[in-house]
Amino acid sequence: MQFLADNFGLLWDAFLTTLSLSLLAGLLALVLGTLLAAARVSPIPPLRGLATFYVETFRNTPLTVVFFFMIFGLPQIDFILGFFTGAVLSLGLYTAAFVCEAVRSGINAVSAGQAEASRAIGLTFGQSLREVVLPQAFRTVVPPLGNVFIAMVKNSSIAAGFATSELSSLLPRLVNADAGQLTAVLLGVVIAYMLITLPLAFGVHRLERRVAILR
């Protein structure tokens, strides 16, 4: 434990990196994923096709490959992202595909009558989605979205392989410095991850109870 205390500064910085990476990528994934879900249920076929193509591309590509493309592929066409920016984009764009499918399942769970009633009073497709369908869809997908975001926090560890000094990158660094401290280092890193994921899970649970609606 003394070893962890000695390296607290390092651990703290890595924790903040993982946290900010998760928050930024999470925000990107939530916004983009919701837009993709809206596109996938829209009455405009090209929009549906584009969103489906996006989801199938990112959902079926290993995250490591997405990182590789962002950080080593894009510079080939003179498009250079910083390591951290590349990590946020990789993680966010990848997770958006999963957010899209979770939100879409929620949209499908809202009864058709709700959308019909909103169209019947003259709301446009976009208004109906914003005012009536999505607010109800989000309520049903809080638990699966929680899963997606917890998985995303853990997936952020891939950034360690692409020069971002986040939590997982400490494992080889600290163990190389003192192999005898392997257990302590593992424990420290796992606890740091849990400091993000457990409050997230708790928040999801609270949110689920707060937004539950009678049907």
């Binding site: 003259g122 005012e131 049907r215």
Partner: protein, 258 residues
Amino acid sequence: MAFRVPQVTSRPNGEPLVRLSGVNKWFGELHVLQDIDLEIARGEVVVVIGPSGSGKSTLCRTINRLESIEQGEITIDGERLPEEGKQLARLRSDVGMVFQSFNLFAHKTILQNVTLGPIKVRGKSKAEAEQRARELLERVGVSAQADKYPAQLSGGQQQRVAIARALAMDPKVMLFDEPTSALDPEMISEVLDVMVGLARDGMTMIVVTHEMGFARRAANRVVFMDGGRVVETADPETFFTAPRSDRAKDFLSKILNH
């Protein structure tokens, strides 16, 4: 009878408020609407009855294009129903609809249910929309429930809110798609009373229903459908006492003699 249905009034040029001409619709192989021609005048109350599967609900839903049609033309106040997009949304805002399953917005309070359309579609201020909504809720007798959520209300109350929600848009015509079919028997009359009141006030109404009492009390005309066709059209008294078609006689004998 407690009141007389007001005389049907047409515009000077005689243009009906709703006109369906040569309307055909298929669900796959099934020809659900066959050569429907129907005109509804301003202020007229038309009841559409018929056995299940006769196409009466589908007919009702084509009038605000919740169902598209393959052939024919539907006009409302002289204006042809647009295919999609903003024009269709604008036209729908002038056509009130009440569904069998109420379809109140589950995540919004009763008051919000009624103000959503006026605020988002008509661009009214929140205060203005709420004042009007409270008046309408008062009129349908559920003003005490304004801050509750739909699931906290009885079916009859929910359906009356649904009527208020449609009225809040100041529609030119109201469509009722089996408005009492999902209600417990003792709640049916509270909804029908509201509808009779609307008819008395001169609202143009197209009502798909099995409520023969309502048809007798409030309708100017009964349209009897079977197998996707309009089989017979008559005033209620004639239709119920002396139906012309065998199909209508058969239908009436089944629903009236038990």
